[in-house]
């Protein structure tokens, strides 16, 4: 059966928004649970910086405290990057997709969204934050499970997985970036217990602590953690694994459904994968991890644009055209 271009786009974004919400819940949860520095506070501004939301945040709140950051990222419907806004966007996509997705997929997102709408600031206050984050995380995972078990395996399934993989890769780069971008303490702190604790936090946000320990039973250095998160071939949230997945999905999508389009997107994915595999982590860090992560993010944006152009019937972005010339 033909897949409407518009539906393909909705599927892609539904997957992205659900993945995004899950990551956001992970970040808030871990922030609350683990990141306490020696001075007893928690650096909540780092969350805002992670998503590059400083401007929007400071318009609404003077200080980045637990209360203000949680309010901003959980229930603030005027913040397009809040969990409630993200799930609303996922639900809008799912609503459009109701003729295409399973009833259970739609119903779960619908109930989840209504659950979020019913939350009050009191419900998400500090003693309950972890529980709310777990609820969000589990609802997103339930969505993943229902999708796996009920979504018909045709073109749409490929677009779903592509959206999920691209979003996941993007979220992972952001999570890693926060460390270098904002948490980087003074050179004296490097390797101190505070530094290690924050690296643990990064791993835990990505549910990667135990996986990391399998590869590195002892010790933990910024280099091994960054290398693991970026390049590990078995860790489901590593950037390499996500990009490999995108590559495989595009290839199979094109061959199975004999789609004539998408070659530019594939080229871009191959290019990114080759770059990821070509340099060891030490070299990446030496040249600047932040710049590297920025570049990966911009490549993911470029891949999204090419997918949109090839399959969603979008005009090519003017910027991309300039690059080609």
């Amino acid at each position: 059966m033909n897949l409407l271009a518009r539906y393909a786009e909705n599927i892609f974004w539904m997957a992205r928004y659900m993945e995004r919400a899950e990551n956001l819940a992970r970040v808030l949860d871990v922030q609350e649970t683990f990141v306490r520095d020696e001075r007893g506070g928690t650096n909540w501004l780092s969350v805002v910086q992670l998503y590059a939301d400083e401007e929007a945040f400071l318009k609404r709140h003077a200080v980045a405290s637990a209360e203000t950051v949680v309010a901003f990222y959980l229930l603030d419907a005027t913040n397009p990057n809040s969990i409630v806004s993200t799930i609303r966007a996922a639900r809008e996509n799912a609503r459009t997709l109701r003729p295409w997705i399973s009833t259970e997929m739609w119903s779960q997102i619908n109930v989840f969204y209504n659950q979020l709408l019913a939350l009050t600031p009191r419900d998400v206050a500090m003693p309950h934050l972890s529980r709310v984050c777990r609820m969000v995380k589990e609802a997103c995972q339930t969505h993943t499970g229902i999708t796996e078990g009920t979504f018909y395996r045709d073109q749409g399934w490929y677009f779903y997985q592509m959206g999920k993989a691209i979003e996941r890769a993007d979220q992972t780069t952001r999570l890693l970036d926060i460390k270098y971008h904002t948490l980087l303490p003074s050179p004296d702190d490097l390797g101190s217990s505070l530094d290690m604790q924050q690296w643990c936090t990064v791993l835990r946000s990505a549910a990667g602590y135990h996986a990391f320990r399998r590869v590195y039973p002892r010790g933990m250095t910024p280099t091994t953690v960054a290398g693991f998160i970026l390049f590990n071939e078995g860790f489901p949230r590593s950037v390499v694994m996500c990009v490999r997945q995108i590559d495989g999905l595009l290839t199979r999508l094109k061959s199975r459904y004999t789609l004539r389009r998408g070659s530019e997107a594939m080229e871009k994915v191959d290019e990114l994968l080759a770059a990821l595999l070509s340099r060891p982590i030490e070299a990446v860090i030496a040249d600047g991890l932040h710049e590297y992560l920025d570049w990966v993010q911009s490549q993911l944006i470029g891949i999204t644009a090419e997918i949109g152009h090839a399959f969603f019937g979008q005009e090519p972005a003017p910027l991309a055209q300039v690059e080609v010339q």
């Binding site: 409407l4 271009a5 518009r6 003729p99 459904y257 789609l259 399959f311 019937g313």
Partner: protein, 493 residues
């Protein structure tokens, strides 16, 4: 719940104090026509406890909300999802009653299709003076673009909803025809699914005719009319989009048929053929169930401001490259003034009497009818001919002096815009209310699907006026719905 005891609380006498009053009752019948076919159902209902019934009703409504079986309502705070309130006590129709209704609906559909073919071709009925020509040719929904065009099987109204009411004597009458884009069929099927989940004990072995093959029948008709010689035609459902109040129904129908739900922006016309935009470029579309009105269908032919439609689709249709259901220009047949002539049309085209009578209707454009209407304003229902959804209606016996004066002024200013009818004492059906089981007025909208021949969905949408005493059942005016059970031959009793 505050624990207040309901009047009917206590098992085995749920309906004991129920009193339908002067009205015909759908579950009990009346003294002249007791409803013998509902005996078993009444017995089972009587064994339920009111609180249990209420609990199950609450569960059902919650599930409807969670499943998103909702319509959008635009309120002051923005768009809001609402469920169509669902009443769990079914409305039951006997096999014999249904056989009569089914035949009457087929007769009506056949007649209106003959009428449409006639007025878009030779206009014999106008020449023979059966209907005033200006009523048809001057009608806003008459589409000159359709003149001389032949449509497959001469079917114009592929999907028809006929609004029926039952008077105090228990006689079904046609209140209104819906031959443009009738809605509500999704609730018929979803209400049944809900009843099967919530009241399996009530339904067991009753012998209720199934309703869930509607999508299959609709797809069959859509395929029959498609201009494709061989292979499977591509059918699509054209919706105005997810902000339309009936979007759930569009989703439902697309899912049931297994066809793409498209919006105008998904379709393009090239070389007078219709295509949809897919992940692999343009793919042809042969047959479209469109849920948008004529006005919005093609901005190059009708309303130029429409963003919902598909530029060029009319010409593609005229050339026979795409089928549309319903056909363009059917609105002239379900007009409230034209309605009054349908019994005469049946006689004219089929040489038969109407199996289901109309409600007596006076057409205020006719002098005598206007005089009668003005003289009896306090006894009549006055309806504007162009409105849908129960808007603009004046119910004489319930109107205030000021409302009657207002209605009189409008009638005198523009008599052709109105018809009048006596107040029909709509039948009632036992309904769950906060005060126990009480009678509430109901109507019935059966649905007929026509490709090469007509099929009528057994039952239809029973709408119920949930407010005590009110006669208006429209969802936009606070109405709800009930599951409608058509019994199989030899069912229940």
């Amino acid at each position: 719940m505050n624990g207040a005891t309901a009047p009917q609380a206590g098992a085995r006498n749920l309906l004991a104090s129920y009193d339908a009053g002067i009205f015909y009752d759908e579950l009990f019948g009346n003294a002249d026509k007791p409803a013998g076919h509902t005996r078993l159902i009444r017995e089972r209902l009587n064994q339920l406890d009111f609180e249990d019934l209420r609990r199950r009703a609450t569960d059902a409504e919650k599930e409807l909300y969670n499943l998103g079986i909702t319509f959008l309502i635009y309120a002051a705070q923005g768009a809001e999802d609402r469920i169509l309130p669902f009443d769990v006590i079914p409305r039951v129709i006997s096999a014999r009653e249904w056989a009569h209704l089914e035949a009457g609906i087929k007769q009506r559909v056949a007649t209106l299709n003959l009428f449409l073919h006639d007025i878009y071709h030779d206009q014999k009925i106008l020449k023979d003076g059966i209907i005033p020509a200006e009523l048809v040719l001057g009608n806003a929904n008459f589409r000159p673009q359709m003149a001389g065009l032949d449509v497959p099987f001469d079917t114009y109204i592929h999907i028809m909803g006929v609004d029926l009411v039952r008077d105090r004597e228990g006689t079904f009458r046609v209140l209104e025809d819906n031959g443009r884009v009738p809605s509500g069929v999704s609730y018929v099927v979803e209400n049944r699914h809900m009843m099967q989940r919530v009241f399996p004990d009530l339904m067991r072995d009753i012998g209720i005719r199934p309703v869930d093959n509607y999508g299959h029948k609709l797809l069959e008709a859509m395929s029959e009319i498609a201009p494709v010689a061989e292979g499977d035609p591509e059918v699509a459902l054209l919706s105005p989009g997810s902000y339309n109040s009936a979007y759930f129904e569009h989703i439902f129908l697309a899912r049931e048929m297994g066809v793409p739900l498209v919006e105008g922006r998904d379709l393009v016309v090239e070389n007078h053929r219709v295509y949809m935009k897919t992940t692999d470029g343009l793919a042809p579309v042969h047959s479209i169930y469109r849920r948008i009105g004529d006005d919005f269908l093609d901005p190059t032919a009708f309303n130029p401001d429409s963003l919902l439609g598909v530029p060029g689709i009319l010409e593609a249709y005229r050339r026979g490259n795409v089928a549309l259901a319903n056909a363009i220009g059917t609105g002239v047949a379900d007009d409230k003034a034209v309605y009054a002539y349908v019994p005469r049309m049946i006689k004219y085209y089929l040489d038969q009497d109407a199996l289901i009578p109309n409600v007596d209707t006076r057409i205020c454009r006719e002098h005598d009818a206007l005089t009668y209407t003005l003289d009896n304003l306090d006894k009549l229902v006055v309806k504007p001919v162009g409105e849908a959804g129960g808007y603009g209606i004046t119910i004489g016996p319930r109107a205030s002096k000021a409302e009657l004066d207002d209605c009189r002024a409008k009638l005198i200013a523009d008599p052709a815009n109105y018809i009048s009818q006596p107040v029909v004492d709509l039948s009632v059906c036992p309904t769950v209310t906060p005060d126990g089981i009480e009678p509430r007025h109901v109507d019935l909208r059966p649905f007929a699907v026509t490709g090469s021949k007509t099929w009528v969905l057994p039952g239809g949408l029973s709408r119920v006026a949930l407010q005590k005493g009110t006669l208006i059942v429209n969802s936009s005016q606070g109405g709800g719905s009930k599951d409608t059970w058509v019994l199989e031959n030899g069912g229940a009793a």
